[in-house]
Amino acid sequence: MLLCCIADDAAGNILVSSALVNCSQTLPSFTAQRLAFHKFEREINENFGIEYIDHPWLKPVRFPQNRATGQSTIANYPFFRIESEELHEVGVGPIHAGVIEPGHFRFICNGEQILHLEIQLGYQHRGIESLFLEKKKLLQRTTLAESIAGDTVAGHTTAFVNLWETLCGYEADEDLQFTRTLALELERIAIHTGDLSAICTDIAYQLGSSVFGRLRTPVINYFQSWCGNRFAKSLIRAGQNHFPFNETLAEQLLKMLDAFEPDFDEMWAEFHTLPSALSRLEKTGVVTKEQVSNIGTVGMAARMSSISRDIRATHPHDLYPTLAHEPIIKHHGDVYSRTHIRYDEIKQSISYIRRLLEKIPPENKDRKALKKPAANAFSISLTEGWRGEICHCAITDERGELVHYKVKDTSFHNWLALALAVRNNEISDFPVSNKSFDLSYCGHDL
């Protein structure tokens, strides 16, 4: 069965259609009409062997261990090539210069100028979706959700627990929702601040790199004082809360934010008016509104180019309905837009956290136990992580056991935007463009 789910942002619902197909069938592709489908159809082809007659770019996605296209291996990916005396190819990765995840970038360049970039992923594939079915204990599945992308623990774990509670017919108490909402906003502040530091590093701006880098520390250390882990692992659990929030924690958090904000604002004021920094950020790595709309990017990678796409506003979960979120939109689609959006979102998250702290829901000490997941159910969960939309889906059989689990990280949509952003840029601008997207390798490769 082929299920297609499309979120209708205007109506705030999700449209689902289904069709029965035979894996040996050959199908016409949607991609031929709408580019946004290209990755999904490539994934269906790779996982199940369904052939598409008119797919323009039917290439491997991540070389999963159980792929239907068994003859292809990660070492013989079919790169796009241009035969020319004038052009040359540059290969970067899979192991990169910094301490980051692996992925391969293949550039076709004319001198210093990039004509084309192809991004090959899959090195991080750990078989997460299969493991969701094989590991039967809820704690194992929660641990898996926490490990999909270790920089988005709150994002993916919230997506998982909301999905699981829905399957079990469980309505989360307000204190659970509070924990999730607060963790998501804190994670956004932490990673955005770290990314501002990394953007400064990539343009060799030492002061910004050090100051934003150290400003991230109190935020993740706050997670450590709350739940014992700097990345919020073990904080979010389905139908449970080991680390109830209280007045003392609220006081600590306000103290941390009060100290964070002036230093952060001061550094930003210096950085975003510095001509030598701006000259590296403005008009670098531009993706137009039209391109973004064709690719179907989500999260920051949509909001940077005038497209308002934010699950917190269109499909609000947990305590977001009470915050009446208004997405922050930028219009130039360049590295600067992607940098500025981070500053604005950090400020917005801080104000949301201050509002959340005005009314801390008491811990429910008499929580109901989780039931077994419903039989023959289909459930879908959307969460706005710091990168953007995260989607988890599950299908159960007649005994309520998982028969299918699907994870879609924000990055699955967005990698193509990076490939288009760097066209006609100098290759030396690639690192800062890449960092301004900060996409996930493991979230994509699963």
Binding site: F63, P64, Q65, N66, A75, P94, I95, A97, G98, V99, I100, E101, P102, Y123, Q124, H125, R126, G127, S130, L131, E134, K135, K137, L139, Q140, T142, T143, L144, S147, A149, G150, D151, V153, G194, L207, S210, V211, G213, R214, T217, Q224, S225, W226, C227, G228, N229, R230, F231, K233, S234, H242, P262, D263, E266, M267, E270, S440, Y441, C442, D445
Partner: protein, 250 residues
Amino acid sequence: MIDNLKILLHQGKQYIPDVTTAKVPDVFRGRPIIHPGKVDEKELVELCPTGAISASPLRIDLGKCTFCGECAFACPEKISFTTDHKIATNDRQRLVIVEGDDSHIKLNPDLIRAEISSYFSGSLKLRQVSAGGDNSCEWELNACGNVNFDMGRFGIEFVASPRHADGIVITGPITENMAALLQICYDATPDPKIIILAGTDAISGGIFEDSPALDRRFLDKKQVDLYVPGNPVHPLTFINGVLELIRRRK
């Protein structure tokens, strides 16, 4: 210029003066202690998501533990986690905590190769390879070099090329798709070289241990010089572990 100086002034002193004595908050889960007393061991074994707990006698393998703390929530009288973050060792067996053991985890000097302190005690350059790491250990290894932890003051640094490195630090459970590349990177590092496994996923595979998408054969015939447990590793665990490994011994 004046603005820059003001910013510097407002930052104050950010570095941790002595990383060997730095403390973490009480809720942090470091080295666990298994207390004496009767308990349903089977229940605890069953509870653990990664099979880190085994019975008779009850023990926890920190090479498999995700430090989720669920065992301590279920049986707080039996298992408690201390804030002791110095849990790196070169002896795989030492990562197994048995009932009643409340001693510090130390390196086994007999397992440290002679060339390590003579070559690396003043300077150690490392090449990091993420082989299925979830990017939390990678962030923490980067944090080791930030102005707070400032690992560079000890001459320990991550470098871009394996040719410039004295060893490799592996994160992640080692995926099949990274296995060949990890080998190439290791081979490109000049001798003598060390291997550090950072994080539970790297040490045992963690939650991914039995996934068919892994290929951990790289580790089969290699001596691992340092195991750094954690999910992810804490910068203090990593830095203190490496300092212990490379320090001169009389």
